[in-house]
Structures are given as C-alpha cells and as structure tokens.
Symmetry: C2
Subunit: 626 residues, 2 copies
C-alpha cells in the first residue's frame, strides 16, 4: 500500500519531529553528544526510513534489505531514534545512550545489529557503502545502499576516492545524501551553503547530483525517487539544511557542535518548541507498519569446497607474494564469497591471478587505498570474504580504516607485499617497516607472515575463515620452498626448523629472516655451535608455550630477527609473550631509516643478515659457556 502525499507528508513531518525530540532527550540525559547535527538530518532520516527504504526492523541482517550507513557517525542519536521509531527496540532504551552497559554508543558500532560498520571517523562510511553496493551485485540482489554524509566530512580525501570508484563502477544502486548544514565542529565549513560548489564536485566525479532543501520533505522524496530512477551512475543528493533545525535559539549558530542541551530550562525550552511542530496527520496512518519488507531468500548455507592443495617442490624458489596470488585464485574457486580488491598493483601483489580467474569478483580501486579498505569493510559486513591487497607500506595510507575495521571486527583479509628492506633498490618509500606494529597494535587483528610458498598458500585459507580482521605480510624476493605440500599450519602456531639437545640460543625469524637464521645456523654449526631456529609465521597471536619451551631449552636466550623496525614487531611480540618466563629476548631489527641498494646489501647494512645473527648468538651465548 502506498500513501498519497497528502497523508504521507504530515506523517513524515511528525516522525521527523519525534526524531529531533528523541535526539535532544537522549543526549541531554547522557550529558553529551551531538543533538544539533541530528536536527539538521531529521527530515532526510524520516523520509529514508519511513518512505524510501525496504527493511525489516526485526531482521536488519536480511541479505536483501536496503542498507543505511551513517557516514557522519556523530549523528548516532538520530540513527538510534529512527530504528526505535521503526520498532527495532524499545524507545525507552534511547535514554541509555552512551552508558557503559548500553550498545547505544556515542558513535555507532556493529554491537548493534542494524549497524554494518562502525563510523565516527569521517569519510569512511561512504567507502563502506561502496562495498555494500558492490555486494548487492555479487549476490545478485536489488537492495539499495543509502549513505548519509556530512558536508564538513566531504573535505576528507577518502570521500573523493569513493566518488571515483562509485562512478567508475556505475553503482546506480548507491545513493548518497549530504547533510549540508554549513557548520563544522569549530567553524563554518569550507563551502558554507554554496550548494553548487559541492554539486559541481560530485558532477565532475561522474555522479548524478541533485540539490534540494533538506527540510522540504516533498523535495527529499522526489530526489530519492529521481536517484532510484537514475541508471548507470550513483546519485548524490545535496540537502541544504540548518544545523539545529527546529530549535530556533540554536539554528545555524556556531558553538553548538557536540553540545547537549542542559537538562532543565534549556532542554525544556527546546522541547517545547519542537512539540509545537507536530502537525495534524491522518488518523490511523502507521508509517512503521508500511515499511516495505525485503524478500526473504532461503539463508544460503555456505559450504565452500576444499581449496586445492599447494603444488610446490621443496627447494623451488617462489616469492610468498606470488604464492599469495596463487592461493587467492584457488580460494576463489573453492568459495564464491571470496572477492579481491586492488589499488593498481595487482601485478606486484599477484592478485591479478585472482582477477584472471574471477574478473567479476575483482574490484579495482586504482591508486586509492582508503576506499579499497573501506569497500572491503562494507563487503565483509555483508557476507563477502574480501582480500584487499597492495604494497604493505601503502596499507599505512588506510590505517584509520584498519583501526575502524578492528572496532567493527569485520573480516577484512588484508595482504601487504614488498615488506622490509629486502625489496632492495626502490628505497624506503616502498619498504614496509612498520606494518607489523600497525596491525599488531589492534588487539583483534590476526597477523601472519609466511616465509615460504606452502605456508603462504595455507595461511590464505586460514585467514579467510578465521573470524575478524587479518593481515598477511608477503615478501618481494623469491625464497626457497621449505615445507612439503602437506605441512599443516595453525593461527597461533610456529615451526621449529632446527633443534638439538645442545642449542645455545633460540633464533626466531619470520619471512626473509628465516633464511638468514638458517644461514646463521649453518655457519655456527660449522664451528660447533648449535642453535634452535624458529619460523614465527603467526605473529599475532604467537605460540607462547612454544616460545617459552624453546627459550628454556636453549639457555634462556631468544634472539629475534626481523625485516621491520624494532618497535611493535616480532621482537616485541615475542618479548611480551615470554615476559613471565625469565628469558632474555635480544631483538635484531632495522634500527634506522634505510636506503636504496641491493636486497642482500641492505639486509647486511641494516643489521639483519646472517652475519648479525651469528654475532648476536656469539655475544649472547659465548661458545663453551654451557
């Protein structure tokens, strides 16, 4: 049943007023929050939730439900108010906003079933919305994705990365609405209410742009309708609004960002004014009951086929980045949920092997790492298993997205190639020497670092099915295959590659430094000194028991060696794990900014080659001391 506009508009107007009232009440009760930015968005929110979107308030995860992403996450109170109005939960719960035992947090997180990805770091929600829109294509659904963007937020470069990708991919199932309230946190935005300045940007980036009065419900409905009928490209509705709309003493005023109304007079005055804004509406119209429900498709049981096993020969020379590409293509064959995202380095990361096999599940973002990771977040939230990959150093471009992926606990499966000084001549700008620190810092990111091709292949499958975000670091140089094709690996595991009953130290390497450790083993052995050699392919979590056992068996000495800066890397991971065990952990790492040169020259110059391991062993455990 569709209401005619004469019934719909007053009903929507009253919803908008209720959303404003709820936003004010809940933030005042919390004592802080962002009521005025809720007020500017209230009419758009009312129209979206109660006339445009199809969804089931009781089943927000429905695969075919339209998606709404609140990219301007600080407007969380009105998001919660809208879902409460729709019946997702009891309106009284709104008064628990921002309390420690409520999931109605200051900014939205997926603790709430109707939130796909955490927002609150601006410019990210629109990138996740790209992923959500791509996912509709993947599952052949006609659901639409809506994203509410702030005007101040539009200064973030990531918004324009999303703009490029959305247009390039022709995502006409995506509709953005910019809440142009002209005020940022600390002052007027760059554009104020110059609507054409914003519209011309979106048009230049290939979007259909519509400028409207964001408090004119008929205009909002018309624009949403126009967006739905626009084919071949996404639409951005630029809604001219007033911050604090509805409360005259704050409307359009600077200095009210992020301030709750004081309970008592101030709040009462605001609420009284809002109460006067209810309009006569047709009796018996229940907009919530009229929300169109999505089709219910049988929940697909995802039973991936087993992935084809590795097919390498011990001693072959294969770069782990290449093995990553091989594995990704095999995994794509085994599981249709697997997708890959690139930032124009597919021929370096070898994700082009996946593209070749599954071009329709390969998403090119060109040189734009933020939208690559952001889109992966949106895809993961909607059931895909996304592998975004680029040079490991350039994942630092998306660190804020990775941080928010951790907060969202979404299963993005990142791979970063070209780790460390072992890349050689390209120099420090292309060397990742802080990527382990960056990813390990997030407590729920799994961090893997294979040294050989077999391990790399098997870790790709493990990370795909391990819950939450994961990161795999791969290397540029070809390295010898160490493991048989049937070797097994586990997240949180390690491999002891050399051991004897007379080991004087445990040397822990990972990736390229495993080979340096093996060289050091040979050199020391020739002079009668034995060491234990460990391949720490799982850097987070680490095998604490295995490390302690090795350390205790080797005179209490552990030497870590990594193609990474010392802080936050393998040495710290090992030291933290064995902190209680009374062992000494000596860290060998890259301790200064490196430079261009040949890989083997750089390993030696920057202190992580076998020579340095040999010296460290001799210094830590002088021959004859045991």
């Amino acid at each position: 049943m569709t209401l005619d506009r004469s019934s719909l508009l007053p009903a929507l107007k009253n919803v908008a007023t209720r959303l404003r009232i709820d936003s004010l009440k809940s933030t005042s009760e919390a004592g802080n929050g962002h009521p005025t930015t809720c007020c500017s968005a209230a009419d758009v929110m009312a129209a979206l939730f109660f006339s445009e979107m199809r969804f089931d308030p009781k089943d927000p995860h429905n695969a075919d439900a339209d998606r709404f992403v609140l990219s301007k996450g600080h407007a969380a109170p009105i998001l919660y108010a809208a879902w409460a109005e729709a019946g997702a939960f009891d309106r009284a719960d709104l008064m628990n906003l921002r309390k420690i035992d409520s999931d109605l947090e200051g900014h939205p997180t997926p603790r709430l079933p109707f939130v796909d990805v955490a927002t609150g770091s601006l410019g990210q929600g629109i990138c996740a919305a790209i992923g959500s829109a791509l996912n509709a294509r993947r599952i052949k659904s006609d659901y639409r994705t809506y994203v509410l963007v702030g005007d101040g937020e539009s200064a973030e470069g990531s918004v324009w990365e999303a703009a490029d990708v959305g247009a390039m991919d022709g995502l006409d199932n995506l509709c953005g609405i910019t809440d142009v309230n002209a005020l940022g946190q600390s002052r007027a935005t760059m554009w104020g209410h110059d609507m054409e300045a914003l519209a011309s940007r979106w048009r230049a980036f290939g979007w259909h742009a519509i400028v409207i009065d964001g408090h004119d419900l008929a205009a909002i409905l018309d624009a949403l309708d126009e967006a739905r009928r626009t084919k071949g490209r996404p639409t951005m509705i630029l809604a001219r609004t007033i911050k604090g709309k509805g409360v005259s003493f704050v409307e359009g005023k600077d200095g009210w960002h992020g301030k709750a109304f004081k309970k008592g007079d101030e709040l009462d005055r605001a609420l009284a004014e809002l109460e006067t804004q209810f309009v006569p509406a047709p009796v018996g119209v229940n907009l919530t009951a009229l929300i169109p429900r999505p089709p219910t498709r049988p929940r697909g049981v995802d039973t991936p086929k087993p992935m084809a096993p590795p097919d390498f020969k011990v001693g072959d020379e294969v770069a782990t980045r290449e093995a990553y590409g091989v594995a990704l293509a095999k995994l794509g064959e085994a599981d249709p949920r697997v997708v890959a995202l690139d930032a124009d380095v597919k021929n370096s990361t070898f994700s082009d092997k996946f593209e070749k096999a599954f071009p329709e599940r390969f998403y090119q973002n060109f040189i734009a790492e933020q939208v690559m990771v952001g889109a992966a977040m949106g895809l993961a939230a909607r059931g895909a298993i996304p592998f975004p990959s680029t040079f490991a150093c350039f994942l630092s471009r998306a660190y804020d997205f990775i941080r928010m992926a951790a907060i969202s606990n979404v299963g993005i499966k990142m791979a970063g190639s070209h780790a460390g000084v072992s890349i050689g001549e390209d120099g420090p700008s292309q060397m990742a020497l802080e990527d382990l620190a960056m990813c390990r810092a997030e407590p729920n990111i799994t961090v893997l670092y294979p040294s050989d091709a077999v391990c790399a292949e098997k870790l790709v499958a493990l990370m795909a099915y391990h819950p939450g975000p994961a990161y795999m670091r791969t290397s540029r140089p070809k390295t010898k295959v160490l493991y048989g094709n049937d070797e097994t690996f586990t997240i949180g595991g390690l491999k002891v590659l050399r051991e004897s009953s007379s080991d004087v130290a445990t040397v822990v390497g990972a990736g390229v430094t495993v080979y340096e450790a093996l060289k050091a083993y040979d050199a020391l052995k020739a002079s009668g000194v034995n060491i234990r050699v460990i391949d720490l392919y799982s850097v987070q979590p680490v095998d604490r028991a295995g490390l302690i056992a090795a350390g205790k068996a080797t005179g209490g000495v552990i030497i870590t060696v990594e193609d990474h800066y010392p802080a936050g890397g393998i040495g710290d991971a090992v030291a933290d794990a064995v902190a209680d065990a009374g062992l000494t952990v000596k860290r060998i790492a890259v301790r200064e900014i490196p430079r261009s040169g040949k890989p083997e020259e750089l390993l030696d110059r920057f202190g992580i080659s076998s020579n340095h391991i040999v010296s460290a062993v001799r210094a830590s455990a002088p021959v004859g001391s045991r």
Copy 2:
C-alpha cells in the same frame, strides 16, 4: 637575458631528449627503475627547469628559490637528470642510480640537497607543495612552487584534499602539472586520455585548469606563463603525454611500467632512436647559464626569544590538551617560525589559542588530516616549525604521511589529543589506542606524553627545537598539576614521583595513568606496601638507565600501565629498554576494543585503573616477600 622562442624551443627540445637519454641509461645501468614515466614528463621537466624556474643549482636551499616537488616520485631518474643538466652535480654520477652508496635513490629523499621531502608514496608531494606555497607567504617571498603529479596518482584522495586547501587559501604561487600519460602500473588509468574528466575535477575544486599537449614545448611555456599570471587561485596544467615518449616501441604500451631497458640491443635501439631526435639549435645558447637566480637575502639568524614560563599552581586541574594550546601560543610569540595546522578541531585540541594570537600563521585544513600533515612537511622543509594537531586517533589517517615524514626526517611537530579510553562517552572511534605504537614504530620520531600541564608546556618547547619529527600525546580530562613551574624536563627523561628504600615494585605510568599509579601508591601505602612511581613523559627515547635503576631497586619488578593497547606502547618501550637487565616487566594496558562510558568507568572496565595496579603489585610482589 631572455631568449626568443625560435632559439629557446630547439634548445629545450634537446634538453628534453638528453633527459630521456639519461633516464634510460641510468635505469638500465641500475637494472631497474621507471624510464617510461620519465619519458612522458621530459618536455615538461625541460621547460620547468630551463625556462621557467628561478634557482641556483649550487644552492638549492636558497630561501627564495622556486621549489619543485616531484609528487610522482618514481620518475626520480629524470629529476636527477634535470639537476645534473643544471649543473648541480656531475652527470656521470647518474650512473650510480639506486646503488647503496649513492644518494640517487630509487625514489627521491632529502639526502639530496635539492629534494625538500621524500616522495614515492603517491599523493603526498602535492600536499607538501601546499606547505611550500604557504611558506612563501610566511617569509614574504615571491618564490613559486611547482609540483609534478601523475595521472594515476590523482586517484589518491589526498590529492583532492590538497586541491581544496590550495583553492581555499588562494595559492596562486602554486602551479601543478599533471603528467597525463594514461597508464598506471598495472593497467590504463581510470581516465585514460579523457583530459576534460580531469580538468573538470580541478575546476570544480576551484583551480584554474589548462589542458595542453605535454610534448608541445611552446604550449607548455604558454601554460606556465598563464599560470604565473593567474591570480587568486592555483593552476593545474593537465599535460596530455605518452608514456615512453620518444621510444616508439614502448610508446603508450602497457606492461612497461617500472621496467628498465635491457642493456644491449634493447637499450641501444631505444637510445639510437632518441639520438635522432636532437634538432639543430642556435650555437652558443647555454640554457643552464640562463637559469634565473633567486635574490640572495641575508641568511636570517633565528634567535627565538625565550618562551614565557608556565603559570600553573600545583594541584590545579588543567587538561594537558589545554596546556598544549597555551604553550603553542606562547611559543608562537617567542618564535615567528612556529606555525600551527588544524583539521577543524581547534577548539578540542586548543590550537585555537594559537589562532587567536597569530591568525596569519594558523592554517585551517578542515577535516583533511592528510593534507594537514603533508603541508606541515612542506613547511618544515622550508624552515618553519609546524605543529599539526588533531585528535590523536585521526593522525592514523595520515600514517603514510608520518612514515614519509620520518623518511624525510623533517621536523613536523605533531600533537594528538583525546588519547585513550579516558575520553569517555564518545566511544572507540574517537579514542587513540595505537598512536604510540604508530609513532614509536618510526625510529626517528620523538614521542612525548605529558601527564600534567607544566610538563605539557615545557615539552612543546623541547619538541619544537629537537631535530626531526616529534609527536606529543595529550589527554582530554583535566588532571592535577603535579610539577612546579620551574621543573625541568628533557627528551629521554623521566620523573620519579614516589620512592622509598622499601619499594616492592616500580610502576611506570604516563599521562592519565600516572594519576592511577599515584592512587595505587596511596592505597598500597595504607596497607604498608611501598611502590616506586615513575612518570614516563618521554616514551621515545626512554631513560634506559633510570628505568633499570628503578627496577633493580624494587625487586626487579616493573609494572607498566598505559591508556593504550599493549602492542607497541609504553610496556614494549620499557621492556625493550631494560631487556638486558634481568628485570620482569608486567604490562597493564587496554586489551580489547573498548566502548562508550564514563572515563573512570572505562579505566576500570578496561583494566588500567588504580585497582588493577594494586592487584598487579600484590601479584608480582606479595607483601612480606622482601
């Protein structure tokens, strides 16, 4: 003396040919590199260096010299070739490209005197160029800044952050040239040779845009002239070029990105073709001799006045973020080189105190952290002392820029407010819990973390004059002033706040956890247990000797407590520092993704309150054990 075009154009054409030849020879000698992207840019480079820019090849640091930033850093060989052609160094050195003992690295770094900031991570050079252009205003110089951008690079969101800021600030002393060669690394760019697609973007962002044939030297000169005459906004010249231009068998061909020509037939064939492209030029024209020299201004001796001392009272409640703002304004008074950059949170970081005092040295970037940090890099490279500040968590948005600032070793002085769970109700998206890990990972970044206002003020001055990049973490809550106004602090120092001869453990805190440690001290003391309490305000470097002495004096037990995730933070810093000393380091940190709540609730819920310190002390050093 100005040449007429009939003499100039053939001479420039021959320069361009020489630059192509040098780019090919040097990359082939190195065995790797990017000759084809040099070839597309050769005519633009020839025109810029030998007809447009004013500089002294022997004194590239001259304060009034025009600046050139190679934002597409992988075209390094032609940058080096241009400077060699200009006489900055011997052309024969070009053959040492990418060798370990040459400063002619794979991508440019400031090891070379004519490179202001390292490039090679795309989308950053143009942000640094914004800073360079702002600096011209600061020092009242009419020098111009030129930046060569790649077309593929233009997909990076940071390019559009720079576009916004450049237009908003009306930087008509800035001229960009986009080398539109239509090929990225792995495939055609998003736009190919659709010049209007790019031009309309720049126009929409408020720049003057000029589309030209990038191999037509007269057109290039005309465009540069037009740019120079364009007032009130920056200019972007969109130069349509051919990747590999001049070598017919690679021109416009995919698959040649990042490949050197093989020495022998392949290189010889290419060079032979280039040799044919020399044209007759007027005898005796020496373009290098005609490069206009910048004025020589007396090198100003920068003797900042002493900064006004702190003016707090022990026991007052002041947030360190507020003390940061106070200090920044005082420092600005003492030293005109000090500038501040904001991303629309000046009223939260308190950098608005600086803006109020020195509006002309305050640069607003709106919500765009990448260009904020990038512009700071450009400013620092030109002699300013820039303080970019925002919420600490949002500095993660600019991590790749911070990484490149470390590689550049430029003195950007970052401040991040709202650290940790102690911010309270806003929730995890606004909490920095990995910022110490992020900054500590870079070996040359100084990391500071004051607990009180006096310390915060003094650290601002210390970080300003300490060479290289620095980061200061500030807190949201008000905290008691602990130190007298005449207390002294040093980079690499710590403060012992409580000690006795019977301490059973050393508790190391920083920022808000210092106060938790002091509460724990009081609680334990009441039950007859003494602990030593350290304020570790310098997190990188740390006072190794001081920590070891404290640990040894307190039963070998150190307990660290931090409002940060465990990996890469204070615990790891301390553990690494004392690794050889036979001490036990127990880390108390935030071990899971937090949520919204009141600050004191969150400190307790996430394990870093005084209660947890008391428990850890009791567990580590049971009463009566000593």
